[in-house]
């Protein structure tokens, strides 16, 4: 720094050399006394408000989570609902034995009602069926057991008729005198008897059977094994 620049700083410093008035400190204290609550107090207030809001949100979330997600609706029967009702299902012969009275009472009746179709479905999947006034009596039977369905179908078998295929009778001996070419389709298939030799295990140190009788050594091994098993 040269002298000229120092002179410049001194000149600025001299212009800025002022002292605060005697009432400066008193003015600061007076304004501090008139200050609103401190920032910490305001922060505490905000924290309390935020905590209360968080608690309220948690309670609301718990209430919503515990509520049933699907509320059955009250359905007013009308023409569209009547058209949506499926046609009555004719019960199979023998099926009523499975569909007991309790299940029969679940059939669609004259009054609109909420019914659940299906046994294994979760409770949320509900089918709301509304029907207008129908004819008296069970018009639809819901068969829920597959075994009962199969039994009912089997009881209908005599009415339909089942043909049991039997093998054709043997030809007469007189016909055997006349040689006829065998029918490749009708002729029985003759399968010769299949002979399977017993499986034997040869030990490595067993004597080799003589070349003329290959089974001699095998018999000896079997005899040895049977004797060892008796021991």
């Amino acid at each position: 720094m040269n002298d000229e620049r120092d002179e410049l700083l001194r000149e600025i410093g001299a212009a800025l050399t002022i002292e605060p008035s005697p009432s400066f400190g008193a003015g600061v204290r007076e304004r501090l006394a008139a200050e609103p609550p401190s920032l910490w107090a305001r922060r505490g207030l905000w924290w309390s408000v935020a905590g209360a809001a968080a608690c309220a949100a948690m309670v609301a979330a718990l209430v919503v989570a515990n509520r049933s997600p699907v509320t059955p609706r009250e359905v007013v029967p009308d023409a569209a609902a009547a058209a949506a009702v499926p046609a009555p299902v004719e019960p199979l012969p023998g099926a009523p034995a499975v569909a007991n009275t309790a299940r029969d009472s679940r059939a669609v009746t004259a009054s609109p009602r909420v019914d659940r179709v299906g046994v294994g479905r979760p409770p949320r999947q509900q089918v709301i069926v509304a029907a207008p006034v129908l004819a008296a009596g069970p018009d639809m039977t819901v068969v829920t057991s597959q075994g009962a369905l199969l039994r009912a179908a089997w009881q209908r078998v005599p009415a339909v008729g089942v043909a049991v295929a039997e093998p054709a009778p043997a030809p007469a001996p007189a016909a055997a005198a006349v040689p006829t070419p065998p029918d490749p389709v009708a002729a029985p298939i003759v399968v010769s008897e299949i002979k399977i030799d017993p499986i034997v295990f040869l030990r490595l140190d067993s004597p080799v059977a003589p070349s003329g009788s290959p089974a001699g050594g095998v018999r000896k091994v079997i005899a040895d094994d049977s004797a060892r098993s008796k021991e």
Partner: protein, 179 residues
């Protein structure tokens, strides 16, 4: 019960009283600095004191993190400068600036010398007002209380080299403007 409450509240009251004493000490120590910094921007005594008081009020709100003396002075200087700039922007249109209070307040026996000094100071402050803000704050702080580069760097939280460079640029521009 009352004895226990008094024993429990005793340290708290002591901490509050201690903080109040510390703030009083900072107020007595840094009041002149704050007023001069504000005056360097506003050059009007009453406005400078109002700005400095506002800076102390804000410092009191944040005093929990400003217990250290150097940290307090640096924070106070920056806050005072910022408030003074805002004040100046707000007052610019409706307040006639007080010109050259310090020099004008000096006693001049010779009317011609007084006129020369007043003219010189007016030109100087006009030149300072033209400076960019980052140069102006450096040269004002360097002129106050004989602050060195290190002190100005601590007040502005700037490296000493940066302060030196800015002070050099400020002086150079002032010389050009004053010639």
């Amino acid at each position: 019960m009352n004895e226990y409450a008094e024993r429990l509240a005793g340290p708290l009251v002591t901490v509050g009283e201690e903080a109040a004493r510390e703030f009083e000490a900072r107020l007595a120590d840094s009041a002149a600095l704050a007023v001069r910094v504000a005056y360097g921007v506003l050059r009007q005594r009453q406005d400078a004191e109002d700005v400095a008081q506002e800076a102390f009020i804000r410092a009191h709100r944040a005093f929990a993190s400003l217990r250290d003396r150097e940290k307090f002075r640096a924070w106070l200087v920056r806050m005072t400068w910022r408030i003074a700039l805002d004040w100046k922007r707000g007052q610019r249109r409706r307040t006639t600036r007080e010109q050259i209070v310090a020099i004008a307040s000096a006693t001049f026996t010779d009317g011609e010398a007084e006129a020369i000094a007043t003219d010189r100071s007016a030109r100087l402050w006009a030149a300072i007002d033209v400076l960019p803000e980052k140069l102006r704050v450096v040269i004002v702080l360097a002129a106050i209380e004989g602050h060195g580069l290190k002190d100005v760097g601590a007040l502005l939280d700037l490296p000493e080299g940066t302060v030196k460079s800015r002070l050099f640029d400020a002086r150079k521009k002032l010389q050009e403007l004053l010639q």
